[in-house]
């Protein structure tokens, strides 16, 4: 398969998943706010700035908006094309990537991405403000439909594997960030160690996090009604059966990488396989106590950095194929991969294609 095609498949899948998760980020926040005692506080910056901190770049935000509130943050994360991670940007980029490989994907997949793009063009900020839940549900459903179509009609070839890698790396990264939102919510209490006293408000917040991962019901089946932070953390980070958990996603990405390279347990063929194997093993033997000991935020951040490094290796290995004469640093310059520099992995085929 052409490297360019593999790369576009990877990013198409990644950007659809990212849009879905951005919708989930916003949804968890609305969920949390509805449980506030004092509804007038809904625009309090403390409830909105963490979203920007975990999804992107606060400096980029403050350049454009004077304050953090429901309107500005929603606008930035949903509509703003200047924010390369907004839902609008993500779907635009997913569509660009899909368009460039329209002959390699099924027409149903293309139509779904294209429909979602046109749906977004038709939505106004006022509509989102009036009924945020319908809007976010629409985005999530559209992403699920895309993945369902792919699941049901796309051949299990190398192409499929690159779609899976994109999806699961993005999902693992996003679930880590989603849990981080909760961590930042507790920031006002700073000065102490992360407060794990389980007051009722805290429980409600954790339930909101579960809901936004569509994990509440799955969680209840395992833990009945015992909602405490340790169990929830275990479930979202380490559970092997729930498809949005970090461990599940890393494992799924690893399997796809193995199918491509022929690696197996204990035998890795390349650096990407080595790094993801290391992360998978780490997740297998970690406990919630380990996370606390390290500090939850730091622990999640390390996962995010690790995932970025894996993405970078995949890029070098499969997408940026180079002739022997070219030095690695040439590639770094020639291909603006912003794996680590930008905080979140970003890459668009279209950046190279403008003529």
């Amino acid at each position: 398969m052409l490297s360019r095609v593999a790369e576009s498949l990877f990013w198409m899948s990644r950007y659809v998943e990212r849009a879905e998760n951005t919708a989930r980020f916003l949804e968890v926040n609305f969920n949390l706010l509805l449980d506030l005692n004092d509804i007038t506080e809904i625009d309090h910056p403390n409830y909105w700035s963490p979203l920007i901190r975990v999804t992107g770049d606060p400096a980029n935000f403050t350049e454009r908006y004077t304050e953090y509130n429901a309107h500005t943050v929603t606008d930035y994360l949903v509509f703003n094309r200047q924010n390369s991670n907004s839902i609008n940007s993500s779907i635009g980029l997913a569509r660009e990537n899909a368009r460039s490989i329209i002959d390699s994907i099924s027409s149903e997949m293309w139509e779904q991405v294209n429909n979602l793009y046109h749906f977004l063009q038709s939505v106004t900020p006022q509509q989102v403000h009036n009924d945020p839940f319908s809007f976010y549900r629409e985005i999530k459903n559209a992403s699920h439909l895309f993945q369902g179509i792919t699941d049901n009609i796309f051949s299990r070839t190398e192409e499929w594997d690159f779609i899976q890698i994109g999806k699961y790396l993005e999902r693992a990264d996003n679930t880590a960030r989603l849990i981080d939102v909760k961590y930042h919510m507790l920031m006002p209490k700073e000065g102490q160690e992360l407060d794990l006293v389980h007051d009722s408000f805290d429980t409600i917040q954790w339930m909101a996090v579960l809901k936004s991962c569509s994990a509440l019901e799955a969680f209840r089946k395992v833990y009945l009604s015992k909602i405490d932070p340790e169990n929830i953390l275990w479930f979202l980070v380490l559970d092997r059966t729930f498809p949005r958990s970090i461990a599940f996603s890393v494992c799924a990405a690893q399997e796809a990488l193995w199918r491509i390279s022929g690696s197996s347990r204990h035998r890795y063929a390349n650096n990407a396989d080595r790094l993801i194997g290391k992360m998978e093993a780490e997740l297998s033997y970690t406990s919630v106590e380990d996370m606390y000991r390290k500090g939850l935020h730091l622990y999640l951040e390390e996962i995010e950095v690790g995932l970025n490094r894996i993405g970078e290796q995949i890029h070098l290995l499969y997408f940026a194929y180079h002739t022997p004469k070219i030095e690695p640093h040439d590639i770094a310059e020639a291909l603006p991969f912003t794996g680590l520099a930008g905080g979140r992995a970003n890459w668009s085929q279209s950046q190279q294609q403008q003529q």
């Binding site: 490297s3 002959d103 027409s107 190398e158 690159f162 194929y321 002739t323």
Partner: protein
């Protein structure tokens, strides 16, 4: 005459109508078609048009209109009534085209080697060597099998007497063949019964024939030559066709950045490393092929490609520099070229052509602008032309200045009233529309033509321009055995 055709006016005094003879009766080969359409009501037509539109939309058969933001994609307009060519007429077209393409290939082989035709003073050397598309750098480089023009699409028209004439030769990267194939699919869906009644020669083997042609010109001895299709990318107006042909042939669709040249060999960059390429069916113009040789600012090409080509490590279809032979000035010499290389009389005639570079012709052109069609020698797609009878005085004056400033760049032809064919306008009203015909000639070991071609139709009432970029549409084209 029955129902739908009752109100149709063929204007036999002014135009050659493809379907109706001057006495108002259908021509023999159209008899069954007219009868069948006679049984349809307007609603039937609307239903079938709907079937066809859905087919085209689902296939993503669209083209991009330039100059509109975000590249507006439109469905290529398609007319439901097929154009029918009886086999005896087709036999002549086929013979004439093969003669013409063979001679033009001889001409290119000569121009890029000994230039005998110039030494024999059959053609003025300055017209050939001064052509914008003549590539001096490639004199002395012989492509595999000595073939330069592997895929061509000459435009053929019929005049008021119904004579077939060649209007221009497209020897660089002619497009539209995907519409020829898709039109057939669409019409089979809409009118299955009609196909039953005619013996329509199939065209579906075109992609296989194209692949065979491309494999035949492989310069290497590898048993399964690796053929790729090089496209300028998704922003090109013919991108749909590129991806369609690549899929139909089962070859990789590449952009310039998918290819690398190492040690004068061309490779694709794949997830499994580099893979050798033997033949490139390129839909990129000469100028953009290699930034090291042609335009340095082009990102569409592949650095080093031309050296690999010169070394004979990769074949390009079409070869570089073929544009010199479809220059509209050279066009006027094609009958001479045929006589010179083949010793035969041309089977298909040219349209009369005046060269602005010839002082006598120039005077005639300037005096008769309102009667002529003036074309820039190197433009295509209906750009840079003046249709005399449809122009204003101001337009003619502006054009006259351009001609005088650069006479080598202009030719003029009489305004031919192209033959007309009943077609449905947007509102399903039946009217006579001007048409032409573009058959596709493939040339590997020998030239072959898939029976038929793309019939383009000027669906705007009264318009003479059939190019898709200027609001033209197309028809399915049937060559039938009688």
């Amino acid at each position: 005459m029955i129902s739908l055709f009752e109100r149709y006016d063929a204007c036999p005094s002014r135009f050659f109508d493809e379907v109706l003879a001057p006495d108002g009766k259908p021509r023999g080969h159209y008899d069954k078609m007219v009868h069948r359409f006679g049984q349809f009501s307007l609603d039937d037509i609307r239903t079938r048009r709907q079937i066809v539109n859905i087919f085209f939309r689902n296939q993503g058969i669209t083209f991009t209109v330039y100059g509109v933001e975000e590249g507006i994609e439109r469905i290529f307009p398609f007319d439901l009534i097929p154009r029918i060519i009886p086999s005896h007429e087709w036999a002549r077209i086929e013979k004439g085209l093969i003669q013409r393409i063979t001679a033009l290939n001889e001409f290119l082989a000569d121009i890029y080697s000994t230039q005998k035709i110039l030494k024999d003073r059959i053609l003025p050397a300055e017209l050939v060597l001064g052509s914008k598309h003549f590539r001096r750098e490639f004199v002395g480089i012989k492509p595999p099998l000595g073939v330069y023009i592997h895929v061509t699409g000459s435009d053929i028209i019929r005049d008021a007497e119904g004579r077939y004439l060649v209007l221009e030769d497209n020897l660089r990267t002619p497009s539209g063949v995907s519409y020829m194939l898709q039109n057939r699919q669409a019409l089979k869906r809409a009118f299955p019964v009609l196909f039953d009644r005619y013996k329509v020669r199939p065209i579906d083997n075109y992609p296989q024939e194209l692949l065979r042609t491309l494999q035949e010109i492989s310069p290497t001895s590898r048993p399964e030559p690796n053929v790729v299709l090089l496209t300028p990318g998704i922003y090109n107006s013919a991108y749909f066709e590129h991806s369609f042909l690549a899929r139909q042939m089962g070859v990789e669709l590449c952009e310039g950045r998918d290819l690398v040249v190492n040690n004068n060999k061309v490779y694709t960059r794949t997830t499994r490393g580099l893979q050798r390429v033997d033949v490139i069916y390129r839909r990129v113009d000469d100028d953009y092929l290699d930034p090291l040789v042609f335009r340095p600012d082009s990102k569409l090409g592949v650095a080093g490609l031309i050296n690999a080509y010169r070394k004979g490590n990769v074949a390009l279809a079409n070869a570089i520099g073929t544009g010199v032979a479809d220059d509209k000035v050279i066009y006027s010499f094609v009958p001479k070229i045929i006589r010179y290389y083949l010793g035969e009389e041309p089977i298909l005639d040219n349209v009369d052509t005046w060269l602005a570079s010839n002082p006598k012709d120039l005077k005639y052109i300037l005096e008769n602008l309102e009667k002529l069609v003036v074309k820039a020698a190197n433009e295509s797609g209906g750009y840079g032309m003046l249709v005399g009878p449809e122009s204003t005085l101001e337009e003619r004056e502006r054009f006259a200045e351009k001609i005088v400033a650069n006479p080598r760049n202009y030719i003029a032809q009489p305004t031919i009233s192209l033959s007309r064919h009943p077609s449905f306008f947007n509102d399903c009203d039946l009217g006579g529309c001007h048409i032409d015909l573009r058959p596709y000639v493939l040339y590997g070991k020998s030239p072959t033509i898939v029976p038929g071609g793309l019939t383009r139709v000027a669906l705007k009432r009264g318009s003479l321009v059939v190019n898709s970029s200027q609001g033209g549409g197309s028809k399915d084209t049937w060559v039938i055995d009688e």
